[in-house]
Subunit: 428 residues, 2 copies
Amino acid sequence: MPSVSPYDNMTPVVRAAYRARAAAADLAPLPRAVKDDALLAIADALEVRTREIVEANAEDVAAAREAGTAESVVDRLTLTPERVRAIAADVREVVVLPDPVGEVVRGSTLPNGLDLRQVRVPLGVVGIIYEARPNVTVDAAALCLKSGNAVLLRGSSSAHRSNTALVRVLRDAVGGAGLPADAIQLVPGENRESVRELMRARGLVDVLIPRGGASLIRTVVEGSTVPVIETGTGNCHVYVDAEADLDMAVDILVNSKAQRPSVCNAAETLLVHQDIADAFVPRALDALAEAGVTVHADQRLLPYAEGTKATVVEATVEDWETEYLSYDIAAGIVDSLEQAVEHIRLWSSGHTEAIVTTSQRTARRFTQLVDSTTVAVNASTRFTDGSQFGFGAEIGISTQKLHARGPMGLPELTSTKYILTGDGHTRG
Amino acid sequence: MPSVSPYDNMTPVVRAAYRARAAAADLAPLPRAVKDDALLAIADALEVRTREIVEANAEDVAAAREAGTAESVVDRLTLTPERVRAIAADVREVVVLPDPVGEVVRGSTLPNGLDLRQVRVPLGVVGIIYEARPNVTVDAAALCLKSGNAVLLRGSSSAHRSNTALVRVLRDAVGGAGLPADAIQLVPGENRESVRELMRARGLVDVLIPRGGASLIRTVVEGSTVPVIETGTGNCHVYVDAEADLDMAVDILVNSKAQRPSVCNAAETLLVHQDIADAFVPRALDALAEAGVTVHADQRLLPYAEGTKATVVEATVEDWETEYLSYDIAAGIVDSLEQAVEHIRLWSSGHTEAIVTTSQRTARRFTQLVDSTTVAVNASTRFTDGSQFGFGAEIGISTQKLHARGPMGLPELTSTKYILTGDGHTRG
């Protein structure tokens, strides 16, 4: 057979993708036990080679400090021996998760006697583009390996030495376990051109998952010909209904906003039904003030600030669309459930919206009308999370509707294929 | 609340998408019975207003003939009263299919007592870009309506009068049934700019499904910021193993290639294991000749043509990647199952590949190693089809791995959302 390859004259990024593709073909049919052994080898290697990892990381940390990086970012970049041990423990948790590959999603015998089965298969090559946290390097590699995928990792240049050390350890462990080391690769090149090449590697890379700030995600979504799963932007709402339990509403509001304001499932806007505003808003404002939250209030809510401890500023239109990720919340009063739903439809990023109500009918209507990855009834927005949902680790939270929506676990890293078995069946 | 809309200064296409979005929000919570009544109203209206449809179509057909359009294309464009009745009957078949919306995909009670359910919801606004066949207009509208989606239809200008008449009938029927007529819209404008606007309407349109030739699909895949489901390209393979039943192999080969060569699940390449070549290839060449098929043979297969009735030409590299859609097939001899798999990985479009073998072990290995939407064992490639698979109608056959793979029925027109129900749960 002619053996001309369509992959001649490859750039380093395309070559990496091509090697990942070959590795993915080898990984796809592997049974769970083989993949789990490789994961255990990874966890062991991370512990044995902690010093090598921490030393490389120290160089990244020193360079970041020298460049005047904010201390919160430096903290996220830093790996200590304890943190490396925690990362190894996370890998061991992936070992105990069920393998999604091979799961029969549906199956039947067709009227003509053909047996039809739809089974889960790996996606193939998964590209992850992410920012400073080096723990993502290991988490993503472990989840991709468990689901039979090869992974191309494109971390930020600020973590390049850390990621290089980590990937060296991962590849050695995977190779030592008899699997292709090319199943885990750092994308070569630290410049933007290499990201662009990755985004254009349609046919070689099966999906790109950007993890990080809104601008990174927008760049990938708009510039990529490889299919992208959009993650992470969370403009989440808490709606306090006319028939809410007020104590519960205060608890859920404060927890949604202030328990960890820097994450995507933190609440960014409070909507209050007008019939309960007098009773609820002053209490809510005091509780938010206590938690250190500044309230960006609309015209109707603003007057309630008088006599409370609240720090209040007047809201502008921009506030409705802002994902603060800080101790700030937009707040307004609505006439009805329908007006709350309309506001959410217009401004929400579709991540998570919560309602607080004692009315079964209102709860049902809210969950029917609101179209977000997660609709919470009498629960904090903060629960939208792979480990909270019982999926084990998560590779990100999809805010799009195609393929995966909400926290993505191992099954979301798979596709399916149909297997059709007959005895010489032909179509008439 | 401030009521500034982000949709000011809209072009006609964006306005259509915005109206579709509003209609989609109304459709999403509708129960099945309401949607089925609207579908029945559509079927009735198509029958009652057949003359209006056929007359508009006659103008398109006359214009196409005048423009010198190939008769096969004119035939696909033509609507007769019988064909309109058949289209109405197809709509009634959608009525009897189960509604995917509301299906609980998974659910559990979390350790903290929260109830978690993942339920199917409509995608929202589905855009279909398609070529000459006006029956797609009705099929797509019916499937989208049943699954609670609004649809934006962008047919070819050669079918514009037919599509305008059909969509008028559909909208009247839907409106008469009390549902928003804007759930079904033709994309305004017949020029390419309107297609481009549709492809850029990210955030308004949830998915684009191109149906038609390879060049249309490539244009949409490469130019769209709206997520796309790639459909239809089928470079399908039949592999005849060393341990094949020869009668079965001939039947499956001829059926896969020649039963209907113009469709995407027809076979385009034959691969034969060397150990069975002497016994099989002459018979296969005679059978293909009988069916009117020209064989594009590689160097090893070419000599077998002597003494057969075959029309044979020498294959070039291009033949391995060609989707002929005609009475042509590429053919080659391979050393092993592994070489067949390698050839398929390199050249297949990942639609459907068939193996003919009596060996359970070989069948298992082929289905493990080949990664296509459908892998057929001892069955024709022609079975990859929504109605053959028992899904009722299909909106297309996805050849990508994300979201949907293979024939797409109603569930593939949905996303999911999580509903989380608690008693005031907060995260610690």
